[in-house]
């Protein structure tokens, strides 16, 4: 047995799925080949490294979110099965007939149905990229239309007309109007009320701190 052939068999040897004859050949080769023995040691160490990865835990928040999703995805069909007892898990109330409107998953050799429909948030995310493409195209089209609209030449106005219109605009302004407007429209609440001495002290203290 060559080292290459032996190393190809070390993975199934690690899982104890070799035939009796293959197993004997591998063991005989390992007894006299330090390289293949080291290779097997590395595979065993890697297995331990993977098995020592931290274990993820299902949190109460995750269970609560699952219950909420089950409730939100429940179709509005009448429940055909009466409630036999009060449940400890309130969210899992979807009846089998209610779910019959969804695509059934093939069983017994066929993989379950691929992501279909958009009823869940994740399902909607799966199908979001065609909408993104449509949105991108629409945005590009709108940008092009805006660009060409702006490229049109502006109306021709002579410099004299512009100066005349500005003079007319300035002449129409009342010099007292701005002050009057500010005085009339400024509410009293904007200005601090110094009638309360405590507020005034606080205001001054804040200014000193700043």
């Amino acid at each position: 047995m060559t080292c290459q052939h032996c190393q190809e068999l070390l993975s199934p040897h690690l899982d104890s799925v070799l035939s009796h004859e293959e197993e004997q050949n591998v063991l005989a080769h390992l007894a006299q080949c330090m390289g293949c023995a080291k290779y097997l040691s590395q595979l065993e160490q890697n297995r331990q490294l993977i098995r020592a990865l931290p274990m993820a835990e299902v949190t109460n928040v995750m269970e609560a979110q699952l219950r909420a999703r089950v409730q939100s995805s429940k179709p509005a069909l009448p429940a055909p099965v009466p409630q036999a007892q009060v449940s400890l898990v309130e969210g899992f109330k979807v009846q089998s007939q209610q779910s019959a409107i969804r695509l059934p998953p093939p069983l017994g050799g066929n993989p379950p149905a691929p992501p279909v429909g958009g009823q869940s948030a994740l399902g909607a995310r799966w199908h979001s990229w065609p909408m993104l493409s449509f949105g991108t195209v629409a945005t590009c089209a709108a940008s092009l239309l805006f660009y060409f609209a702006m490229m049109q030449a502006p109306p021709k106005v002579s410099a004299e007309e512009v100066v005349a219109s500005m003079d007319q605009l300035i002449g129409s302004l009342d010099p007292d109007e701005g002050e009057r407007v500010i005085t009339e429209e400024t509410p009293d609440e904007v200005m601090p009320d110094w009638s309360d001495e405590t507020d005034r002290e606080l205001f001054e203290n804040e200014n000193e701190q700043n």
Partner: protein, 210 residues
């Protein structure tokens, strides 16, 4: 857990008993979560996929036929059925993210897999032979996860199912809908690629406690 008890729970859940489905979630939620968690590092995505797995299971529960009598290989066990839904959702998610990653700048970075496999400095020091102690270091957990990330999603899924979930070849083949021979050959290649990846990132040295 007796399989007959599991079948009874599935039948009660199919009949619409919310409590039975809740118990099934409690029994298998952690295993399903850890399968997804070892495939995807983003915790939010992991929780989304975990919830989606059980929502899909509930929606399609009416079409699942429990294995009767126990041991009948024509129908998957309930946990295998859950694993199948979870693995399909996870692989779909990874493929979807992979399509977007094709356009990211990170895809232009040189891959370390082109580096030669020297095989040196692989063996753990004597004080680090306890792999659990090694994984106490966040850097080493990252190292193992990054090495797993170099595998294709399908190979990584098989390796996680075998090494972390300790599933037999037959069940992995049933879940992923591939022949047993394919499981054996892909596992060997996945282990070899993981070995090379770990060789290229030696374990972090632990700091001596004073």
């Amino acid at each position: 857990m007796p399989e007959a008890d599991e079948i009874q729970l599935v039948r009660r859940a199919k009949a619409g008993e919310q409590e039975a489905f809740g118990l099934l979630v409690q029994r298998h939620g952690k295993a399903v979560l850890n399968l997804i968690d070892k495939m995807i590092r983003d915790r939010n995505i992991v929780e989304d996929l975990w919830q989606e797995t059980f929502v899909r299971a509930l929606e399609n529960l009416h079409s699942y036929e429990p294995r009767t009598p126990p041991g009948n290989e024509t129908s998957p066990s309930f946990v295998s059925w859950l694993y199948r839904i979870a693995s399909n959702l996870t692989l779909d998610e990874l493929r979807r993210r992979g399509r977007w990653r094709m356009f990211s700048w990170s895809s232009l970075k040189p891959q370390r897999t082109d580096e030669p496999d020297t095989g040196e400095d692989y063996d753990l020091p004597a004080d680090q032979l306890d792999t659990v102690a090694v994984l106490e270091s966040r850097e080493n957990i990252q190292r193992v996860r990054q090495a797993l990330a170099t595998l294709t999603p399908e190979w990584r899924m098989m390796l996680i199912m075998r090494e972390y979930q300790d599933l037999p070849y037959e069940e992995i083949a049933e879940i992923l809908n591939v022949p047993i021979g394919t499981v054996r050959s892909r596992l060997a290649r996945a282990r070899e690629q993981l070995r090379v990846a770990l060789l290229q990132s030696p374990p972090q040295k632990r700091k001596a406690h004073t």
